[in-house]
C-alpha cells in the first residue's frame, strides 16, 4: 500500500499554537527540547506563556502542577523516556493524585527513536501511565490524529498523557477526522478476526488485513488510540462478532495496550488473543524500519499471529 508520509510532532506544535489563540490560559513547558518536541512554535507565538526549565524533568512536572493549580491548561513536553521514566514520581504525586490539569505530550516514544539506542527508546510509558488513577492515555497513529487529540484533550480537565513518535509516519487520516477520547476508530470491517492496533502499528495492521484478504481471512482493523479509558464496547463487540483478537503495539508486550485489551476480554468476553509487541527486552541502535523488523513489529508478524488466533477459535 502507498502512503503519504508526515511527521506527527508538528501536529502537536500546531495544535498547541491554535490552543494558545483559543484559550488565554493555555501554557506550555519544556525541558530543553523545544525544537525536537515542536513546542518552539508555541514559544514563538506566545513567549510569555512558555517556560523552558532546562534539563530538569522533575522540576518540569512540578512547575506544571503548580501552574495547573492556578487554573492554567498546562502542556508539558519532553521525550517519552524522560517524561514518564525520569519524572514518574512527580507525575504520580503532583499531577495524577491531586488530579491537576496537566497534559503531558511526549515525543520520541518507542523503538523507532532509532540511533539513540536503548537509553532513549521508551517501551514502558503506556504501562507506567495507564496504571495511574485519573490518567487518560492516548497514542495517536499519525499527524492528524495527534493534532486532533491535542486539541480535544484541552477541553477536558484532568491529567493526560499523549505519546508521539520521532520518525515520519504514514498518513491514515485527513483534516476531517473527528477524534474522540475513549472511542476506538474501526478503520476496516471484517468477520474472522479483529486486529486492534495503536500508534505506528495501525498502518501495519491495515497492510496485514490486505494480505490476509489474499489468504481468505477477513480482518477487522481497529485503531485503539485511547489506551485509557479503554473502549470496552468496541473490544467486546469485536470479540463477539469476529471471535478472535490480535493486538499490535510499539511497546513492551507487558502491561501495554495489548494487556489492556486482555483485561477487557478476560472480564467480559474471553476469546483467543495473540499479542504483537516488543518482547521484554531493551532495544538497540539502528534505523527505525530496521528496528521494527528486528523486534517483530511487522506486517508478517501480525499475519502469523492472526493465523494462529483464527486457528485457536476452532
Amino acid at each position: 500500500m502507498e502512503w503519504q508520509m508526515k511527521n506527527m510532532r508538528p501536529g502537536f506544535g500546531e495544535a498547541l499554537v491554535e490552543l494558545g489563540q483559543r484559550y488565554h490560559n493555555v501554557v506550555a513547558l519544556n525541558a530543553d527540547l523545544s525544537c525536537s518536541t515542536t513546542t518552539v512554535m508555541f514559544d514563538r507565538a506566545y513567549p510569555e506563556r512558555f517556560f523552558n526549565v532546562g534539563v530538569a524533568e522533575q522540576n518540569l512536572m512540578g512547575i506544571s502542577a503548580g501552574l495547573a493549580a492556578t487554573g492554567k491548561i498546562v502542556f508539558a513536553s519532553t521525550f517519552a523516556m524522560f517524561a514518564t521514566g525520569r519524572a514518574y514520581d512527580q507525575i504520580r504525586q503532583s499531577i495524577a493524585y491531586p488530579k491537576l490539569n496537566v497534559k503531558i505530550v511526549a515525543t520520541h516514544a518507542g523503538i523507532t527513536v532509532g540511533g539513540d539506542g536503548a537509553s532513549h527508546q521508551m517501551h514502558e510509558d503506556l504501562a507506567l501511565m495507564r496504571v495511574l488513577p485519573h490518567m487518560t492515555v492516548i497514542a495517536p497513529a499519525d499527524y492528524w490524529e495527534t493534532k486532533k487529540a491535542v486539541l480535544k484533550v484541552a477541553e477536558v480537565p484532568g491529567p493526560c498523557y499523549i505519546r508521539t513518535a520521532r520518525t515520519d509516519t504514514p498518513l491514515i487520516y485527513d483534516e476531517d477526522y473527528r477524534f474522540k477520547i475513549g472511542i476506538a476508530d474501526t478503520l476496516r470491517d471484517g468477520e474472522d478476526v479483529t486486529i486492534i492496533a495503536t500508534g505506528l502499528m495501525v498502518v501495519k495492521a491495515l497492510e496485514a488485513a490486505e494480505e490476509l484478504k489474499e489468504l481468505g481471512i477477513s480482518a477487522r482493523v481497529v485503531n485503539m488510540s485511547t489506551i485509557k479509558p479503554i473502549d470496552k464496547n468496541t473490544i467486546i463487540k469485536a470479540a463477539r462478532e469476529t471471535g478472535a483478537i490480535v493486538t499490535a503495539e510499539e511497546h513492551n508486550m507487558i502491561v501495554g495496550m495489548g494487556s489492556a485489551v486482555t483485561e477487557v476480554l478476560t472480564d467480559h468476553e474471553p476469546v483467543p488473543q495473540r499479542r504483537v509487541g516488543i518482547p521484554d527486552v531493551f532495544g538497540e541502535s539502528g534505523e527505525s524500519e530496521e528496528l521494527m523488523e528486528a523486534y517483530g513489529l511487522t506486517v508478517e508478524n501480525i499475519v502469523e499471529n492472526v493465523k494462529i488466533a483464527v486457528e485457536m477459535k476452532r
Binding site: I63, A65, S94
Partner: protein, 285 residues
C-alpha cells in the same frame, strides 16, 4: 479572617501575645491528634508551629469560608509529613472544626497522613513525597504572575528534604524566573529520620548555598514570632528575587521530652507522654 492582606507589620508587638496563645493551642492539638492516630510525625509538626501561626493568622490573605478563593495566598507544605501542624492551624483558622483533628489518619477521614488538596479544605497542594513542593510553588507563582494577581506563594521545606535533587532544580528555576511573589521557609531543625542532617548528608553551609543560587536569604529563629513577622514583611517588599527564610528551629519544640529527640520524628506520644505534654503546654490535660 480578613479578605485583604493585614497590615500586621505596623505594630508587630501587639500581635505577639495572641499568636503565642494560638501556637500553644496548635501544639496541644498536634500532640493530641498524633496520639489519637497512633502514627505520624509530631517532631517536625511542632517545629513549624510558629511559622504556620504567623502565616495563617497574620501574613497570608485567605478566607476559610471560601478555601478556593482565587485571590488567596497559597501555601505548599513541601515537607508533607508536617501535616498535623498544618491541620491544626487550618482548624484554628476556621477551615473546619478542631474536633475533626482527632480523625487524623483514620479510614474515611478528610485528614490524610499527608496533605491531600482534594480532601481537606484549606490544603493548597497534595504533598508527601519529598522534594516536590518548591517546584509546585514556582508554578503557582508563575501562574499568579501571568494573571497579574498580587497574591503570594509560600512553601515550607524540611532540611532533610533538601537532600532531594529536585529542590536544587527548583532553587535554580525560582531565581531564573525571578518569582519574587514566592517565599520559601526552610524548617532547619537539624534532624532527619536516621539522625542529624549533618551526619547523614550535610546541608551546611546552607545560607551561602541559597545565596549562590540567587535567593534573597534571611536567617532567623523559627520560633520567634517577631522575627518571623518582620521577615515575612521584608519578603513581601523585596523585589526581583524569591526569598528563602532559613528558620532555625527545634524538632519537637514545646514539649520537653520531644525537643531534639530523634525518636519523635516518626513516633507518636503514648498516653502518659501525652498527659505530660499537655501539662507542659498548659490548660486541661
Amino acid at each position: 479572617m480578613p479578605l485583604e492582606r493585614m497590615d500586621y507589620w505596623l505594630d508587630i508587638d501587639s500581635s505577639l501575645e495572641e499568636l503565642s496563645g494560638i501556637a500553644r493551642e496548635a501544639r496541644r492539638w498536634i500532640v493530641r491528634m498524633t496520639h489519637e492516630a497512633g502514627s505520624g510525625h509530631p517532631g517536625g509538626s511542632l517545629s513549624i508551629v510558629e511559622i504556620l501561626t504567623a502565616l495563617y493568622f497574620r501574613v497570608m490573605k485567605h478566607d476559610p469560608e471560601n478555601p478556593h478563593w482565587e485571590e488567596r495566598d497559597r501555601m505548599v507544605l513541601s515537607k508533607g509529613h508536617g501535616a498535623p501542624g498544618l491541620y491544626a492551624l487550618l482548624a484554628l483558622s476556621g477551615y473546619f472544626d478542631p474536633e475533626e483533628l482527632l480523625t487524623l489518619r483514620k479510614l474515611g477521614s478528610r485528614l490524610q497522613g499527608h496533605p491531600s488538596m482534594n480532601k481537606t479544605p484549606g490544603v493548597d497542594m497534595s504533598t508527601g513525597s519529598l522534594g516536590q513542593g518548591l517546584s509546585i510553588a514556582i508554578g503557582m507563582a508563575l501562574g499568579s504572575r501571568l494573571d497579574r494577581k498580587d497574591n503570594r506563594i509560600y512553601c515550607i521545606l524540611g532540611d532533610g528534604e533538601c537532600q532531594e535533587g529536585q529542590i536544587w532544580e527548583a532553587a535554580m528555576a525560582a531565581t531564573h524566573f525571578k518569582v519574587d511573589n514566592l517565599c520559601a521557609i526552610l524548617d532547619r531543625n537539624q534532624l532527619q529520620i536516621d539522625g542529624p542532617t549533618e551526619k547523614i548528608m550535610s546541608l551546611e553551609p546552607v545560607v551561602p548555598k541559597f545565596k549562590a543560587f540567587g535567593w534573597h536569604v534571611i536567617e532567623l529563629n523559627g520560633h520567634d514570632l517577631k522575627e518571623l513577622l518582620r521577615a515575612f514583611h521584608e519578603a513581601e517588599t523585596y523585589k526581583g528575587k524569591p526569598t528563602m527564610i532559613i528558620a532555625n528551629t527545634v524538632k519537637g519544640k514545646g514539649v520537653s521530652f520531644m525537643e531534639g529527640a530523634l525518636k519523635f520524628h516518626g513516633k507518636t506520644p503514648g498516653k502518659e507522654e501525652l498527659e505530660q505534654a499537655l501539662r507542659e503546654l498548659g490548660g486541661d490535660v
